[in-house]
């Protein structure tokens, strides 16, 4: 079980994540979109979407710091364990709350507004379930274990385990015996990563930062545009008439 959850699953998830994205990018440019539903409903979206997205970007940054950076590195630059803990809990709680509030508004909107509900696919629903679970368990970890509880030093177990996967010297044993909410969080996130390329979440990788530097007007020659005919045909077939 330990091997399955903390060794096999992460590598399967990473493989699916990487290979899936390459496959989708090469074969489904037409399906690669945010699938925005703002055309149907704007008021709630303008409240929930920025909260959720900016909150989640901050959460992502926190994870990079907390999991990617070893504890002795932060100690080396003079950040004590206590100071780190204080920072991570306060910023984590703030950004997590923003993400949760935003997600709640967005989920309410998705299922209460009939036009948005009608635009929701099955894969969307599965994705929302995984995303919500991941965020809620993550929130529990921050608030439950670290704020209210005595605090759990995940930088001694979860973080080294995660990094060990990338140094190709995996240590699944580190994850044994850690709080169950951390375990659930890790598993759900791994499953989410595995399914990422097959959902609309791919739009994360289209963050259009190039817009800031490119010229306003794009000119293109007719001869340059020569899309692969077969891929095009497949793309059009992905739109299913609803009625």
């Amino acid at each position: 079980m330990t091997t399955l959850l903390w060794l096999t699953l992460p590598y399967v998830a990473f493989t699916s994540f990487v290979v899936g994205h390459i496959w989708r990018y090469r074969h489904d440019q037409f399906g690669w979109t945010t699938r925005s539903s703002q055309l149907h409903e704007s008021r709630l979206l303008r409240l929930g979407s920025p909260l959720f997205h900016f909150g989640l970007l901050a959460v992502l940054g926190g994870h990079v710091l907390g999991i990617g950076v070893p504890a002795d590195w932060t100690a080396a630059v003079g950040v004590s364990e206590h100071a780190y803990h204080l920072m991570s809990v306060s910023f984590g709680t703030l950004s997590g709350l923003a993400a949760v509030t935003g997600l709640t508004i967005l989920l309410y909107r998705r299922f209460a507004v009939s036009a948005v509900r009608a635009a929701t696919t099955t894969i969307d629903k599965v994705m929302y379930l995984m995303l919500s679970t991941a965020i809620v368990t993550g929130m529990l970890n921050t608030i439950g274990s670290n704020l209210i509880g005595g605090g759990y030093d995940y930088r001694a177990t979860v973080s080294p385990w995660f990094r060990s996967l990338f140094t190709l010297s995996p240590q699944p044993g580190l994850m044994v015996g850690i709080p169950i909410s951390f375990q659930i969080h890790a598993v759900v996130v791994l499953v989410l990563l595995a399914s990422w390329p097959y959902t609309r979440l791919v739009h994360v990788f289209s963050a259009p930062l190039g817009y800031l530097v490119r010229p306003y007007i794009v000119y293109r020659s007719r001869d340059v545009a020569r899309p692969n005919a077969r891929r095009y045909a497949r793309a059009w077939e992905t739109t299913h008439p609803r009625r």
Binding site: S37, S42, F54, A119, Y232
Partner: protein, 560 residues
């Protein structure tokens, strides 16, 4: 100088009868799909009126087009690039479906499946968005022919700019139709708004297109376009827009909207312009200078230096010939009767309009005056301030001068040609009073009134077939089977729409062999009406009346 060619359109509003044929054929060719039910790449709106989508011209609200910064630099009205990216998670200036209208169908099945009952079953309206029963409250042309009266028409944002006190009286004064497609601007703000760079302007013909593979659905272009001619496909999550029917114009036939126009009011042709001069022209301080500034960007295709430059940048002789014979250049530059739609948006639009003179003629005739007399018409153009001011708000950022000059030329043409038709002596002063020669005014008459097909549409086809031929030279190999790797995009289009086959009757290629009565509008070249209408089966000798009735009945049956 950077010489570029642009395919452009001019519409003669005097001839538009508001029949919506262009809208319907465009829809059948391009947007009769799920996801774009609410989208009309071509729409016809009654002016004054709210337009489609509702009040799209109110840029205080929708933030479309360009504006100048305090230091005089051109920037998107919706904000800097950085501001647009910050708003990417929720676009604050995006119209909702309701601003266009909620598309619907009817529950026709109920007519057949309803149980026997005392009352007639009805087909209730059903929303195409939610699939639920809906109440129809708006449509793409809800206020057609001033429908809804002052309550609806009074919300026209253009009307709000014309003086307030005359609103009600003015509605009795005049009305006209404004058919609209994408403007294929020289300085397209939709393309400038696209974070992904998916919207591009084609270097060969200036057509503005959305790369469906590169679009990521950030929907900033919908806000960026001040004409609201970019539509978000809510099924595919991609932006779509008028394509200027590029598969058709590439092989030299006009767009579907132009081809099927009942009033023959559309003109298509090539214009050469200096792409390097566009930014400066779009950045002039005063809105009223934008129309003359755009005129200054166009290059005279008869100037040997322009021809030499065109040849140098590799523009084919067929395109140069087309630019020299361009009806667009004549109407915009030579006669200066066509004007751009809302130049104050600073996008340098390339679908221009000849303002309607008919409101003046109607008003004159209504008061018992001779509506064809030059003096009367000139007086009416000056006296009927409100229609002229309204037209100026549409076409010249409020500057009455060019609108008046255009209307006076049209009036002079009417007066001159009536004298010719009645055999009266020609009065050269009429033409001179609008700074045209008698010959020019008669040439303008031929272009506007007789408007032969080959004069209305001067579309060079060489680019498409040349590219095709060059492709074959470069890539010609045994793999050019259907869908094979040697199949170019053009081949696919050609295959789909039968573009390069020239059937004997001009239509046959569009119709499958087994369904020869069918016609594909995307491919129709307008040379014959075979297949457009259901065939009437031959009947034996009958009385006239009966034959008519039978013919009509069988035609209806065919349609069913």
């Amino acid at each position: 100088m950077r010489l570029m060619a642009q395919l452009a359109m001019v519409m003669n509003l005097d001839k538009c009868i508001g029949c919506h044929t262009c809208s319907v054929t465009c829809k059948q060719a391009w947007t009769n799909r799920s996801g774009v039910e609410y989208a009309w790449f071509n729409n016809v709106e009654t002016r004054p009126g709210q337009g489609y989508p509702r009040q799209y011209q109110d840029q205080q609200r929708w933030k479309g087009g360009w504006t100048l910064t305090k230091r005089g630099r051109l920037t998107l009205r919706s904000g800097s690039r950085f501001k647009r990216l910050l708003n990417i998670f929720a676009n604050p200036d995006l119209p909702e479906v309701a601003d266009y209208y909620e598309p619907w169908t009817y529950d026709y099945d109920n007519l057949l499946s309803a149980p026997q009952m005392d009352t007639t079953p009805v087909a209730r309206p059903v929303s195409l968005i939610t699939g639920e029963d809906t109440a129809i409250t708006w449509g793409a042309n809800w206020d057609d022919d001033l429908g809804g009266g002052p309550e609806q028409i009074g919300r026209d944002p253009v009307l709000a700019k014309v003086s307030d006190k005359v609103k009600l009286e003015f509605q009795q004064t005049f009305m006209f139709y404004l058919p609209r497609i994408c403007e294929h601007c020289l300085n397209p703000s939709c393309a400038a708004s696209c974070p992904s760079g998916a919207i591009y302007k084609r270097t060969e013909d200036g057509i503005v297109l959305v790369d469906q593979d590169k679009c990521r659905g950030w929907r900033q272009c919908v806000t960026g376009c001040p004409y609201k001619k970019i539509y978000f496909n809510h099924k595919t999550g991609k932006a779509e827009k008028c394509t200027f029917c590029y598969p058709r114009v590439e092989v030299g036939i006009p767009t579907v909207c132009a081809e099927t126009c009942v009033g023959r009011l559309r003109y298509i042709g090539v214009v050469f312009y200096d792409a390097d001069a566009v930014l400066a022209a779009a950045s002039v301080r005063d809105d009223k200078d934008l129309y003359p500034a755009q005129l200054g960007v166009f290059l005279n295709p008869h100037d040997p230096r322009v021809v030499a430059e065109a040849e140098r940048v590799g523009i084919s002789q067929e395109w140069i010939d087309a630019a020299q014979a361009s009806p667009i250049y004549k109407l915009i530059v030579d006669y200066q009767v066509a004007l751009p739609l809302h130049p104050e948006y600073r996008t340098m639009p390339m679908v221009w309009y000849i303002p309607p003179l008919s409101p003046m003629v109607d008003a004159l005739a209504g008061t018992g005056h001779d509506g064809e007399d030059a003096g009367n018409l000139f007086g009416a153009i000056d006296a009927l301030r409100i229609p002229v001011e309204y037209l100026a708000e549409l076409f010249t950022a409020g500057d009455i001068g060019p609108v008046r000059a255009s209307l006076q030329r049209l009036a002079a043409m009417r007066a001159h040609m009536r004298r010719v038709n009645l055999g009266e002596p020609v009065d050269p002063e009429i033409a001179e009073s609008v700074r045209l020669s008698t010959d020019e005014i008669e040439a303008m008459y031929r272009l506007l009134a007789i408007a032969k097909y080959e004069h209305r549409y001067v579309i060079p086809s060489a680019a498409g077939s040349d590219a095709h031929r060059l492709d074959a030279l470069a890539t010609g190999c045994s793999l050019e089977s259907d869908g094979g790797p040697g199949m170019t995009a053009f081949d696919v289009m050609d295959d789909k729409f039968h573009l390069t086959q020239q059937p004997a009757d001009g239509n046959g290629a569009a119709a499958p062999v087994d369904k020869e009565r069918r016609i594909n509008l995307l491919n129709w070249d307008g040379k014959s009406t075979n297949g457009l209408f259901a065939a009437v089966p031959a009947h034996g000798p009958q009385t006239n009346g009966a034959a008519h009735t039978n013919g009509a009945t069988s035609a209806v049956e065919h349609i069913r």
